[in-house]
Amino acid sequence: MSDKPLFAIIVFPGSNCDQDCYHVATELVGCRAEYVWHRDTDLKDADVVILPGGFAYGDYLRAGALARFSPVMESITRFAMDGGPVLGICNGFQVLLEAGLLPGAVRVNRGLRYVCKDVHMRVENSSTVFTRLYEPGDVVRMPVGHMEGNYTAPPETLTELEYQGGIVFRYCDAEGRVTDSANPNGATAGIAGISNRGGNVVGLMPHPDRCAEGVLGNEVGRRMFESAAMALAGR
């Protein structure tokens, strides 16, 4: 039992996909999972850290803006610096951006409305801890659900991301073409997800946790969790 990888699911007061991520990690991937309250600093010897979606502190100011001051963020930063796998989904991605664990920022969607629907993404980098079970160029369908997902960064950051494999997913059409009409929020260069240089910290706006089992009609997202679990099991 205890040799199964342990996922720490970080719970901010306004997290609302924490239980969804827990369900994927335990029921669908067969790993262990523990909730970690945002005020705690102990990551419980977790092997993987997940920052789930939601509205961490209500996000009335700016998504993720207050969450980065949570005590747990210091522990997560240390964990990431040591090469620990950290995945930020949707609001979790916004928190990673605000905390500086990933570069850039997200703005309000181009359409100025919340958008919840399936989108397609092209896998640009399949060597991160969370994308090893995909092939480069794979087109995957995942749901989005956000008001602020319009990714942007200074030109030099974007160049760096491009050249160092930092762009993990790009919005595309069903055939894999990165087009403006396939972009749900206006994100620069169609960027849907990025990673740090080490490939151990990944953030994305779409929800792999919402497409991880057959009964929901789509299992493609489970591979992100499995990818991290497999990497650890093989250590």
């Binding site: 007061p13 609302n16 969804d20 919340y114 659900g145």
Partner: protein, 737 residues
């Protein structure tokens, strides 16, 4: 001294005031008058509707909690139950659409989680006026944003609902919100103040001056341009606080520390304290000086009648008060002990050391006024001669025009603004016949649906209400589920008009009859009267919310045509009916009746048949025939399945009625050719008319009638383009003001 003017200002009649004097044996003070005014408002006391609501069937083998609590509860087996309720937030949403709709969502969520249930899905049933009516686009946009803003943030998916546009709502829109939650049968909580000496705890947001007398406001009609002046009575929502409150309460419910709990909704602290004491037959002593307030100088009157959102009143076990406080502190919520339970039968409020109100608990609800208001039989609207209209030249053109109507067009513009997937239970997303939410840890799923057709109800309130039940049941059955229970939200004009009371009585009778025949109990509900502006009432709108259960989610059925070569079948009979149809309105500009007929026994057999066919895995797809008629239903199956079909209908009725009439009791199904015998047999056993009418094939939808005459031959992709883009275009084209 209470003057006649003050009594009138509190919306109390002379007769009601005499009753107050009789109950108290003295004159009330101003605070007490405010309490009576709120508790005896139409909104809180149901004084005009109670008499009729008694006729609704509320019993059933699965009913755990019927009407009278915060929400109704129905058993779904395996130790689990679903709690659900629908409520209106019409008046506030017309005054300030974003906050009105948002707080509507917040209120219904509290009703459900107060029972110990974790909310798992919301539905919104929206009625707007014409898109080009004044302020209408602003109202549509604000209401949708408000529902999204609240529901998305708290993380409860909005999975279903419906939206229609009728001139009768031009100056009085309807926002009806339903929520369904999941609760363990042995961990249900109720709003009861029990156990003398137990502490009363106030938790959640601070009390402000917002929404004072909201319940009284919702019990009056609008006159002239009052909507701006009324704004201070609309509350402001804070979904983040609600999220904290929900998590804290659900965490508390896993302990044994809570005795009873109720949300401070309409009439705020007043109604929650009187209702909790009233249900338990106990009394309360509450110190209003301890209530956390948002601003200084608030009077006891204001504190008692504020409708500030996201507040809970709970009674804790005396020895567990500390652990209650710890949980609220963990979630950064204010929680204060403001009083205690007594056995006096009285609710006594203190403020700064003196008694400001001292009232008997039970009489406020037991002896609340009950009116048998005068009524006249409602006017029904029949045909105004549509039978003599010439048949159209271009049936395909009619189909395209109806698919483009805001009432029929696909409304993803609305539901893509709602997070409809959070919680990862949404197996059938919005846009189908009913949404399906799977129950984790089991093979089960629940189906949820809201329904009512205001044109039907305007033509015939009795039949319109019965059809709303029948259609919701049919939609639920079309997914393979069996109906379990109903919640209703009855929206009407002023009960002081005999014709409105006539409509109300007829609609409640229609609901009762349909629920009886279909054996679906009504477990919760809400009445919203006074939906009128400048003397113009809305069409009678008895919205039905229904929950169903499917035992094996893998047996679920959905709308899209699935496989080339499948046989298309029609269950039910076609009739020569065009009254109250989208066809008459859209193609001929005629709004006339009669309302289609409804055969409740036939509906019951159809529901039974569908559940049976689905459980045997015989159906590839199923879709209820409703708005726009049979041609629209076939087109929807085709567009969603991106597949064509060749249909041949051997009928002698007029082709326009066959294609576009909104005759009830019909469902389009598809199945593998080899299963036709089994389906024919099962249909015969249930005495449901069945016939094969075509085949899923190609990329066009063609419909022939008797003699092989081709009426419709349309490219499915082109229909889809019209159907999926028209609503957004209509919104964009509407005047911003």
């Amino acid at each position: 001294m209470i003057s006649a003017e003050l009594i009138a200002d509190h919306n109390l009649s002379e007769e009601e005031y005499s009753r107050i004097l009789e109950i108290l044996g003295r004159e009330p003070n101003l605070v007490e008058l405010g309490v009576f005014s709120a508790m005896w408002s139409e909104h809180c006391s149901y004084k005009s509707s109670r008499l009729h609501l008694r006729n609704l069937p509320t019993q059933g083998p699965r009913v755990i909690q019927g009407p009278g609590e915060n929400a109704g509860i129905v058993d779904i087996g395996d130790g689990l139950a679903v709690a659900f309720k629908m409520e209106s937030h019409n008046h506030p949403s017309y005054i300030e659409p974003y906050q009105g709709a948002a707080t509507g969502v917040g209120g219904i969520l509290r009703d459900v989680f107060t029972m110990g249930a974790r909310p798992i899905g919301s539905l919104d049933s929206l009625r707007f006026g014409r898109l080009d009516a004044p302020r209408m686009r602003h109202l549509v946009d604000g209401v949708v944003r408000g529902i999204a803003g609240y529901g998305n943030c708290i993380g409860i998916p909005t999975v279903g609902g419906e939206t229609t546009f009728h001139p009768g709502y031009d100056s009085n829109i309807l926002v009806n919100v339903m929520n369904v939650g999941l609760v363990e049968k042995d961990r249900i909580f109720r709003g009861r103040a029990e156990g003398t000496g137990n502490p009363v705890v106030y938790a959640g947001s601070k009390t402000g001056r917002d929404g004072i007398h909201g319940a009284t406001m919702a019990s009056e009609e609008f006159v002239g341009d009052q909507t701006r002046q009324k704004r201070p009575t609309v509350q402001v929502g804070d979904p983040f606080t609600e999220k904290l409150l929900m998590e804290a309460c659900l965490e508390l419910f896993r302990t044994d520390a809570v005795v009873g709990i109720q949300d401070m909704g309409a009439a705020g602290l007043t109604s929650s304290s009187f209702e909790m004491a009233g249900r338990a037959g106990s009394g309360l002593e509450i110190d209003l000086s301890k209530v956390p307030v948002r601003e200084t100088g608030m009077t006891p009157y204001e504190i008692l009648l504020s409708e500030s959102q996201e507040r809970m009143l709970l009674v804790a076990r005396r020895d567990r008060l500390e652990s209650v406080m710890e949980v609220f502190a963990k979630w950064d919520l204010a929680a204060v002990e403001i009083g205690r339970v007594t056995d006096s039968g009285r609710v006594v409020f203190f403020f700064e050391g003196r008694i400001v109100a001292d009232l008997p608990a039970a009489p406020l609800s037991d002896r609340a006024p009950l009116y048998d208001r005068p009524r006249v039989p409602p006017r029904t609207i029949g045909s105004m001669g549509w039978e003599r209209l010439p048949e159209p030249d271009d049936y395909g053109g009619c189909l395209r025009a109806i698919l483009a109507s805001p009432n029929v067009a696909e409304k993803s513009w609305i539901w893509t603004q709602y997070d409809h997937m959070v919680g990862t239970n949404t197996v059938e997303r919005p846009g189908g016949d009913a949404a399906l939410l799977r129950i984790k840890g089991s093979r089960k799923a629940i189906a949820v649906k809201s329904d009512v057709n205001p044109w039907f109800c305007a033509c015939d309130p009795y039949r319109g209400a019965a059809i709303a039940v029948a259609e919701a049941a049919r939609s639920i059955a079309a997914t393979g589920a069996r109906p379990l229970g109903v919640t209703d939200c009855l929206n009407f004009g002023s009960p002081e008009r005999p014709e409105i009371m006539g409509q109300f009585e007829a609609a409640v009778r229609g609901l009762s009859d349909a629920c009886r025949v279909l054996s679906i109990p009504v477990v919760s509900g809400n009445v919203s009267f006074y939906n009128e502006t400048d003397g113009r009432p809305i069409p009678p709108t008895p919205t039905v919310g229904m929950v169903g259960l499917i035992d094996d989610v893998s047996r679920r059925v959905s709308v899209p045509f699935r496989s080339e070569g499948d046989v298309v079948g029609l269950l039910g009979s076609n009739r020569d009916e065009l009254g109250a149809s989208e066809f008459l309105r859209r193609i001929h500009g005629r709004d006339e009746g009669p309302c289609p007929e409804v055969d409740l026994d036939a509906e019951r057999r159809l529901v039974e048949l569908l559940a049976r066919l689905a459980s045997k895995g015989l159906l590839s797809s199923a879709h209820d025939v409703s708005d726009g008629g049979l041609a629209v239903a076939l087109a929807e199956c085709a567009m969603k399945g991106t597949a064509g079909a060749e249909i041949s209908l051997e009928e002698t009725i007029r082709p326009s009625a066959l294609l576009f009439g909104e005759t009830t009791g019909r469902v389009v199904i598809t199945f593998a050719a080899g299963d036709e015998g089994a389906i024919r047999e099962a249909s015969a056993a249930e005495q449901v008319p069945f016939r094969a009418v075509g085949t899923v094939r190609g990329t066009r939808l063609s419909i022939r009638v008797s003699g092989g005459r081709l009426l419709v031959d349309e490219d499915v992709a082109s229909l889809q383009e019209i159907w999926t883009t028209s609503f957004e275009s209509a919104i964009a084209a509407a005047d911003v003001l």
